[in-house]
Amino acid sequence: MSMSTPNSAALVIDKVNRRFGGVVAANALDFTIRQGEFLAVVGPNGAGKSTLLQMISGVIRPQEGEIRLGGRRIDRLTPEAINALGISRTFQTSRVFPMLTIRDSILVGTQVGLIGGGRSPRRYGPVGELVSALFRLPGYRASAAAAEARAEEVMKMFGDRLWPRRNDQAFSLSYANRRRLEIARALVQDPDILLLDEPAAGMNPSETDELTEIIAELRRSRPSMTIVMVEHKLQVVRQLAERCIVMSQGTVIVDDTPAGALEDPRVIEAYLGTKRSAAAFGKVNDDG
């Protein structure tokens, strides 16, 4: 697939390398994610998919190469600085705030918007926020109320999964609900780029379908939002993504449409190794 004309808000992965001891998690990764693109990243366990998201979001730094957003180099920035540029993410092992309620957890995502940067019209410096919170100044209260409204809107995107439980603490949630909570925390920021690390992991088929529908709806309502999704469930990839990158041992082995990529014999081989499991791959995932 040709990446000839990267537009202004493109995310450029430029010859990025990352090793952990002897393990090569990213080996000369080199591709561009255009604005508004829905990119799926698939590949066997340990291929380096999560490492890619970790590097884009600033949690891990590349050892060589650069990552640029709209021409600006971001691979040396902190996670919070990268987030402020409009990149939100979820984690493979859900990182919820165990003692916080669902509502509070999601509101944490609005905090940047509240204090400046982000997408809020009002900006507060550290002292400004201290004084505003202390004296409950009207402007700050209005921002906080707007944040609450936004959080409510996002919670309701997940039907009655999150909203009725908004005052439950995160540790009491089911595995699938923790995933939803994390996605909501990212979505509440209304990001330009959304990074999802196996959003459907641990969900049963009907929950997976439900999530797929939510993401598809998000896609319709926010077509300009770039989405990068790592996912092992290939039917989700087929239904949602426009482009699919297959990684193996830290490198991109195929970069194509989902249909093209998932049919590629190299992919089947890299993904599952043996003939027997290659057959299973064809059966299980095609029949869904």
């Binding site: 984690f91 990182r95 705030f97 165990p98 003692m99 926020e129 201290l130 540790f171």
Partner: protein, 626 residues
């Protein structure tokens, strides 16, 4: 000139070997049980005092020492069994506080049994002296070096050759895999505590011989130094511990030679801080301290950095009820207490009431920092002290009126808190507790030794009370002090309430629960932690000023580590991050020594025991953790 230098280096090397022994105890427990054992120093003290007692009772020293080591080893194993193993499901902060409580209990018990005085320790070898140029070494020095080296060599052989040693190392590397291999992991943990006890006791005896004296409070400083040495050496290797110990020994020995004996510990603890900040993995280490409180914290399935979350919480087995009174109720209760002087409360009652109000302010201040933001602060008394000294010095040296001194004290403590705790922003979990403990000790020692400014142990008398421009009322009376303290408390509660129930408080809790997730959600963590340092420091400073006004006097002993630990006990008792809880815990524990007046000398013992029992049976506190 050169002679002094040479002899200080020699002294440093010798005492450094002892530090290396303590360091090994720390490293073993840290490696195997993944906790920082604050009771290591207490075991050291125990070993030294057991030897001292047995010799005094007529036992030959060659019999007393092995016996003391054996008893201390058993004690170490007992601590693991009674104070740590039952805490598997308790909040992540619990094991740390539990070892701290043990340290306090041992400390207090030792003071009761052996008095707080320095005791002279038998040191038969110190009369043999060998000159090295103009410096000299005593028989004790040779003994220390010989014993340390052979113990370390033995330990190295044990760890690499014996089955137990290998099992111990396997547990340190991967407890789950070790369990699969049929290794009894809890037993290994217990065994590491036993070994740490043996090493500690040996170090205690050697220290006793070296200085020819022992004292009950020796546990904390030597524990900290052992940890500094362990950290310098990287926490993972025996040679690392030796180099770390010797380096630390040389640093502080030079400091005491050239700056003054009083500054020895200040230098040692500063080294500890510096390493924590600059090279948390030590000079040679590869084991990162960030592992503490990191992804695989106490909660099993959920990655979290939370100090209050727990395995039990994660699996939803403990449903806690959170009791939080609304602000108006809290202020109403404070207003009711203000009637006490009108109801004819005696001077004694007013004095106690003022003390309780001051402690309540401190507890509120600490619960913001430790309870909400998750920064385990075992040095909080430092900011209380900074506030008190600022208020006292403002009037005495700079002629500032007492009213303004109030505010100045708050601001000074806020600035100190932000500056001194700034380095802890990059640390997590138990390491923060260690750093703040060191910071608290440094501030205390500076107050004690910087005689030009603080008048050292003599303290500053004649602190003027504010008149607050309320003509008519005698603001200098005890009743007025009581009211003033209640006003400070009302202000503190209002500020804390506004913070905790605003987006700022929510952000603090998010940082406590999962720092990485907070950052990835855009939260500028250092900014919000600075904010909590400022607010918490400010409130502690106000409490300090009120304390100085009440006593008309400040001296370093009010701001010792004991105070910090009492404060922690208060907020754990009430429930972390919960203002109502902080008030309840603060007032209850402030009144405790008054209620048990005849037993006043058992005060610290009681605090330690309460903390220990709470962690075991009601870790969420009386009013619940928020």
């Amino acid at each position: 000139m050169l002679e002094l230098f040479l002899s200080q280096i020699l002294n440093g090397v010798v005492i450094g070997f002892v530090y290396a022994l303590i360091a090994l105890g720390f490293s073993l427990v840290f490696g195997v049980a993944n906790i920082i054992n604050f009771a290591q120093g207490a075991l050291l003290m125990l070993g030294a005092f057991l030897t001292f007692t047995m010799v005094r009772l007529g036992a030959p020293i060659a019999v007393a020492i092995p016996l003391a080591i054996a008893i201390t080893t058993a004690t170490g194993m007992l601590i693991e069994r009674l104070a740590l193993r039952p805490l598997q499901n308790a909040p992540y902060i619990a094991p740390l506080l539990s070892t701290l409580a043990i340290a306090i209990i041992f400390d207090a018990a030792a003071e009761m049994i052996w008095t707080a005085e320095i005791q002279s320790f038998p040191s038969p070898l110190s009369k043999y002296v060998v000159f090295v140029g103009s410096a000299y070494l005593t028989g004790v020095d040779f003994l220390i070096i010989a014993v340390s080296l052979s113990v370390m060599a033995g330990l190295m052989l044990f760890l690499s050759r014996s089955w137990m040693g290998k099992a111990l190392r396997a547990t340190a590397q991967d407890p789950e895999a070790a369990t699969q291999m049929g290794i009894n992991v809890p037993l290994m943990r217990q065994f590491s505590f036993g070994l740490a006890g043996a090493l500690g006791a040996l170090a205690g005896v050697l220290i006793g011989m070296y200085y020819m004296s022992v004292f009950p409070q020796m546990g904390i400083p030597y524990g900290l130094k052992g940890f500094a040495a362990a950290l310098l050496g990287g926490l993972s290797s025996i040679p690392g511990a030796i180099v770390g110990g010797i380096l630390l020994g040389i640093f502080e020995s030079l400091a005491s030679g050239y700056v003054g004996e009083g500054w020895r510990d200040v230098i040692a603890f500063s080294v500890l801080l510096l390493v924590l900040i600059v090279r948390p993995h030590g000079l040679f280490g590869n084991k990162s301290l960030d592992a503490l409180g990191g992804a695989s914290g106490a909660t099993g399935g959920i990655p979290t950095t939370s100090v209050v979350a727990s395995m039990a919480g994660a699996t939803g087995r403990t449903k806690q009820r959170l009791i939080e009174a609304p602000l108006l109720v809290l202020l109403g209760v404070i207003a009711l207490f203000a009637l006490l002087p009108a109801l004819g409360g005696s001077n004694y009652l007013l004095q106690v009431g003022t003390q309780a109000a001051i402690y309540a302010v401190l507890a509120v201040s600490l619960t913001l920092l430790t309870g909400s933001a998750g920064i385990i602060s075992i040095g909080h008394a430092a900011f209380f002290g900074v506030g008190a000294y600022a208020a006292a010095l403002a009037g005495r040296n700079w002629g500032i009126p007492a009213e303004a001194a109030f505010l100045l004290a708050g601001v000074a403590a806020a600035v100190f808190a932000a500056v001194l705790y700034w380095p802890t922003i990059r640390l997590s979990g138990h390491t923060v507790g260690l750093a703040t403990l060191a910071i608290g000790q440094i501030v205390y020692l500076v107050c004690l030794n910087w005689v030009d400014v603080t008048r050292g142990p003599m303290g500053i008398p004649g602190v003027q009370r504010p008149s607050l421009l309320l003509g008519g009322i005698d603001m200098k009376s005890l009743a007025a002090q009581y009211w003033q303290a209640l006003v400070v408390l009302a202000i503190a509660v209002t500020i804390a309430f506004a913070m905790l129930n605003s987006p700022i408080g929510r952000t603090w809790r998010a940082i406590r629960e999962d720092r990485l997730a907070a950052r990835a959600s855009g939260v500028p963590v250092s900014r919000y932690l600075t904010l909590v340092f400022l607010v918490s420091g400010f409130l502690a400073g106000l409490a300090g000023a009120q304390f100085a006004f009440l006593q008309n006097f400040v001296s370093p002993e009010s701001f010792m580590i004991d105070t910090s630990i009492v404060l922690i006990s208060m907020i754990v008792l009430g429930g972390l991050g919960n203002i109502t809880g902080a008030l309840v815990g603060g007032v209850l524990l402030a009144l405790l020594p008054e209620v048990l007046r005849e037993f006043a000398q058992y005060r610290m013992l009681a605090y330690g025991a309460i903390l220990l029992l709470l962690l075991r049976f009601r870790p969420q506190g009386l009013a619940g953790t928020r």
